[in-house]
């Protein structure tokens, strides 16, 4: 056998191995999702008696009907969209402006301020929870959208990410724009911001996912049923022994709560992959 032929054969074998590995990993990743969907289509009592009943008929949509039949569920979806969307938009605006400022502007105390922002990364939410709750009580912010959105706008990671991204863009671009008499705001808006789209996408996606899945702050701030987010609302509908007596319902809730994220993924797949791979490279 000639050397090139062996090389091709070797490469083909390697490709096949890689493909098999990817397929195996895909199955590992998709299996829990299929398991959840399967459980969601089974009657609770049947699952309680025999968890293996998921592998055979009868199947039912009753759990989904019960999920959607909960009177406030669409209000909770709306609340989650408002909170996640508002938080994402606010974080992108603030982080971009702050990142630009730290990367491009010289002002007294800039470095100290940046270090203070970075310290924010080391402060866990639990450490400020009581104080924040008290302040929001005084301001009457509980059970309001601002009460759910404002805490997340303090995003040191976002500021750090955008600062680093702006720093990586050559300053010559700013200087060229300045020679054309562009203002700072115009340079930021027209020249630099479009170049940071991958970072914006990364930050936006992670912020949106974090806000959508957030549970603890909404749990203690939104205590009125009409202000629940989807996570808190869904949890409130579970019975005490949902993990044994209501497993089908629980799984239908998981599918229902995860569906919007899946839809977002389907529409923004290209940007998300770019963002995540960009974040990984970075």
């Amino acid at each position: 056998m000639s050397a090139p032929a062996a090389s091709i054969k070797g490469r083909a074998f390697g490709d096949h191995l890689l493909l098999a590995l990817v397929l195996l990993l895909s199955i590992v990743m998709i299996a829990p999702v299929l398991w959840v969907i399967g459980l969601s289509l089974k009657d609770n009592a049947e699952l309680m008696a025999d968890p293996n009943s998921v592998f055979h008929a009868p199947y039912t949509l009753k759990n989904y009907i019960n999920t959607v039949g909960t009177s406030s569920v669409f209000i909770w979806v709306r609340n989650s969209i408002i909170v996640s969307g508002g938080l994402t938009l606010g974080t992108l605006i603030l982080s971009s402006l702050a990142g630009y400022g730290f990367a491009r502007l010289n002002f007294p105390g800039r470095d100290v301020l940046f270090v203070i922002v970075l310290f924010g990364l080391a402060v866990p939410e639990q450490a400020v929870l009581v104080a924040r709750h008290q302040i929001f009580s005084m301001l009457k912010f509980h059970n309001t959208f601002q009460g759910l959105i404002l805490p997340g706008l303090s995003a040191p990671f976002g500021v750090f990410l955008m600062t680093q991204y702006f720093k990586a863009i050559p300053k010559e671009l700013d200087e060229a724009a300045m020679l054309d008499n562009a203002s700072r705001l115009r340079i930021f808006w027209k020249v630099l911001l479009p170049l940071t789209l991958p970072a914006q996408a990364t930050l936006g996606i992670f912020t949106f996912l974090g806000a959508w899945n957030d549970y603890f702050w909404p749990l203690i701030s939104a205590t009125r049923k009409d202000m629940f987010t989807l996570t808190v609302g869904m949890a409130s509908t579970q019975t005490n022994f949902a993990q044994s007596e209501g497993i089908g319902f629980l799984m239908a809730q998981a599918v229902f709560a995860g569906a919007p994220i899946l839809i977002v993924y389907l529409f923004f797949q290209k940007y998300i992959v770019t963002a995540v791979s960009g974040a990984a490279v970075r």
Binding site: M48, P51, L219, T223, K225, N240, F241, S244
Partner: protein
């Protein structure tokens, strides 16, 4: 002419609004766990047609709203147990009027003056504490006052697979299961069971679990008359009595007399699949297990299902740990109409305790527990003794849910061999006392 018409329209609209009874209804905010089941019972006002905790409580509140047009109850359901939310609501001055609280948790809020004593209000609507069962009255009383309307008592029980018990030769001539009377007898019967059936005596959820361990310990400390909370701010758990209990469960674990590596859901599936003789679980599964035993082809249908309180294994008072659910009322300024509406709501639940007892929980009222209707419910004849045997921790002990987690973690470590028993008991005691010292 036009002005006349407008005036007439305005007066008519006003009259219609006043004529609508809901316009003048007193609003009450009620917060509860037990889940939501609007799709099945959202409009049902007949509690007799409802099943399960969620179905029955939803239907009861619907009926209350239907029967009392002068009061309107707005319900918020929260994820069990809902105390993070409730604490936050109290902190922000936005607590609900009426809220479900476990008897074991009442003192956390009562000690801070957040709950309203209910003695006078209950008396005004004709509900007196002497109507409560001993377990319910003890659980709802803090500092000699009633701080929650008890609606049930619940406890852990011996759920028995009678087919496997027969195979093991642990059924007496009258058809009742034979239970041990001492730790030694328990281990001997468990060995006999394992030999005859090839299966473990116990089905237990020992994974992701703290409550089961702790409730078992409390029960067998009570049965040794151990006054481990003589001082409600200082626990004594590094004692010979506690050591006996932990060593007994350690032996059960090591000799394979129990299932291992099962979480709560898994333990239910295992018991229903006939994987063990006795499932240690609460009052709330009696209905489900009974239904299984009536379904042909199931493991429980084979030889039957029985359920009993924990057997007396030690020489002290016959007792077992029990807790209960209550309706508590937040402390705040209210109009006489609001207080009267709350009284109506509590009275309604006191009057309808039988419906709630169909969940499997034991009634909180003597009249219900001794009624023919209650006795006619499946297995209530064997478990109703819990109303007398049931014993909570002393009412002044705070942070009982947090204490439960600490004790459960340390017991789990001792039983599974991660720590030796003495170290686990010492750690258990010091951790609980540290918690209580910082309240």
């Amino acid at each position: 002419m036009k002005l006349k018409k407008m005036l007439f329209a305005a007066v008519s609209a006003g009259a219609m609004m006043l004529a609508n009874p809901s316009f003048a209804a007193t609003e009450l905010s009620v917060q509860r766990f037990f889940g939501a089941c609007d799709a099945d019972f959202g409009t049902n006002t007949d509690p007799t047609k409802a099943v399960g905790e969620c179905g029955i409580i939803t239907s009861l509140i619907n009926k209350f709203n239907a029967d009392n047009p002068d009061v309107h109850v707005n319900v918020t359901t929260v994820e069990w147990p809902g105390y993070d939310q409730l604490t936050a609501q109290f902190a922000s001055g936005d607590a609900p009027d009426i809220v479900t609280i476990h008897e074991s948790v009442l003192s956390d809020y009562q000690s801070k003056g957040l709950l309203m004593p209910l003695d006078d209000l209950l008396k005004s609507v004709g509900v007196t504490p002497d109507a409560f069962t001993d377990a319910a009255r003890n659980g709802a009383t803090k500092d000699s006052k009633i701080y929650g309307l008890p609606i049930d008592s619940w406890t852990m029980l011996y759920h028995v697979n009678m087919d496997l018990f027969k195979q093991a030769g642990l059924v007496s001539a009258d058809g009742t299961p034979i239970f041990p009377k001492s730790p030694e007898e328990l281990l001997a019967q468990a060995e006999q069971f394992k030999q005859k059936t090839g299966k473990p005596y116990f089905v237990q959820n020992l994974t992701n679990e703290t409550a089961l361990y702790t409730r078992n310990l409390y029960t067998y400390l009570f049965q040794q008359d151990s006054d481990f909370f003589a001082d409600p701010k200082h626990v004594k758990l590094n004692t010979p009595e506690a050591k006996k209990v932990v060593e007994m469960y350690k032996a059960i674990f090591e000799k394979g007399y129990t299932t291992k590596d099962l979480d709560y859901g898994g333990s239910i599936n295992a018991f229903l699949a006939g994987e063990g003789g006795v499932h240690l679980n609460g009052t709330w599964v009696v209905g489900d297990y009974n239904a299984q035993s009536e379904t042909k082809g199931t493991a429980l249908n084979k030889g039957g299902y029985a359920v009993y309180p924990y057997p007396q294994l030690f020489g002290g008072t016959h007792a077992q740990y029990a807790d209960g659910h209550t309706w508590a009322v937040s402390q705040k300024d209210r109009t006489p109409e609001q207080i009267a509406a709350i009284g109506k709501f509590l009275k309604f639940f006191a009057d309808n305790d039988f419906e709630w007892s169909r969940t499997g929980h034991l009634p909180a009222y003597k009249a219900v527990i001794t009624s023919d209707a209650f006795k006619a419910l499946p297995h209530r004849n064997t478990i109703s003794a819990v109303a007398d045997l049931g014993k909570p921790l002393p009412s002044a002990v705070q942070r009982q849910f947090a204490i439960q987690d600490i004790i459960g973690e340390e017991m789990s470590a001792a039983i599974s061999g991660q720590k030796d028993v003495d170290t686990a008991l010492a750690d258990m005691e010091s951790r609980v006392n540290e918690l209580l010292a910082n309240i």
